[in-house]
Symmetry: C2
């Protein structure tokens, strides 16, 4: 085998940067990338499938997993728990598959602490005006909710330097091309090539 292990990609973005649509398209274009499935204590919504969108567990199970150190990161949001399993990531990578994790800046930091060779991608909207427009476009949200989201967005953008790549989602197709390019390029990094394969195929000749 030429490749040692798969890559762990972590994607973060402020709300309104277009991350969800980008990730969905990416799934179609690079189907051999796995998407990480989180554990949650939240009840499934209509159309959500256990093991696809989330792995649904009850609070006792979740707390037991915390106690066993099974999560590389977990958080409580609006009373529900969400967590990422270390073992799931490790298994996917060691099988040689890339895995993609969609997570906020705090979660990304925890992932990087545990998986030091993870590759962090940050997605930015083209401008603050455009971000405001995109956030305001959701009619269901109150001005207070929009203002809080904007404040959060700025706080998250401050963290961009912790990321390896920054994609500006101005023209969608360009942003998508950049995301695909990162995944393909990271596969041919020298550190991903099995030294044994090189020796076996070339250097033993002499």
């Amino acid at each position: 085998m030429r490749r040692k292990r798969g890559n762990l990609f972590v994607i973060s973005a402020p709300s309104g940067a277009g991350k969800t649509t980008l990730c969905q398209k990416l799934k179609e274009i690079v189907p051999d990338v796995k998407f990480s499935v989180s554990y949650t204590t939240r009840k499934p919504r209509a159309g959500e499938i256990d093991g696809i969108h989330y792995t649904f567990v009850d609070e006792d199970e979740f707390r037991a997993m915390i106690a066993d150190g099974e999560f590389v990161e977990w958080a409580q949001v609006h009373g529900n728990f969400y967590g990422t399993s270390k073992r799931r990531i490790e298994n996917t990578i060691s099988e040689g598959f890339d895995i993609l994790l969609d997570i906020d800046v705090q979660g990304a930091r925890q992932i990087r602490e545990h998986f030091s060779d993870s590759i962090l991608i940050f997605i930015l909207p083209p401008s603050m005006d455009e971000l405001k427009k995109r956030l305001a476009g959701r009619m269901s949200d109150s001005p207070e909710v929009i203002a809080r989201r904007l404040k959060n967005a700025i706080d998250e953008i401050r963290e961009y330097k912790n990321y390896d790549y920054v994609i500006i989602n101005d023209v969608f197709d360009d942003a998508l091309e950049e995301m695909v390019a990162i995944i393909i390029a990271e596969r041919v990094r020298t550190s991903k090539i099995e030294e044994a394969w090189i020796k076996e195929n070339f250097i033993k000749e002499e």
Copy 2:
């Protein structure tokens, strides 16, 4: 401007790995990448254009340029001099353009010493057997020439760890896609984004 500077890509490969064809196709696909033009004291061959294939100078001019420290690397091959101008690379990069340099492993090492943020790409044939086949395919070469080239190829392959990326040129279209992906991905590295642009566009808001 979002991008600070262009990138310097350095491409090396043992003879027979298919580097020349890859670079030619790359020129068509990513036309905004500039290709470095070397200085040489060799006489132009039929069809070679001054300033396009090489910049042709006489030996006195070349030696004066060496004395002035104008070359980031230079070498003498079969009695002719070849050299890469520091200033040309620096000018291209500072204008925001990527530049690509096709050079052997020794030259690549010198480039990296001077341009520490250069990005080094090594191209491998799929296997030693395939390399032998490709080298033997040139009817004009004697067995001794082929044997020496093979020996050189192995010596060059030993150096692959000094490179950032290793592309295995098995399926040509895949190798080309990987090369294009590296160029696109390296453009969105966090270090290439102007911090001032981020501050101006987002963080000042608060």
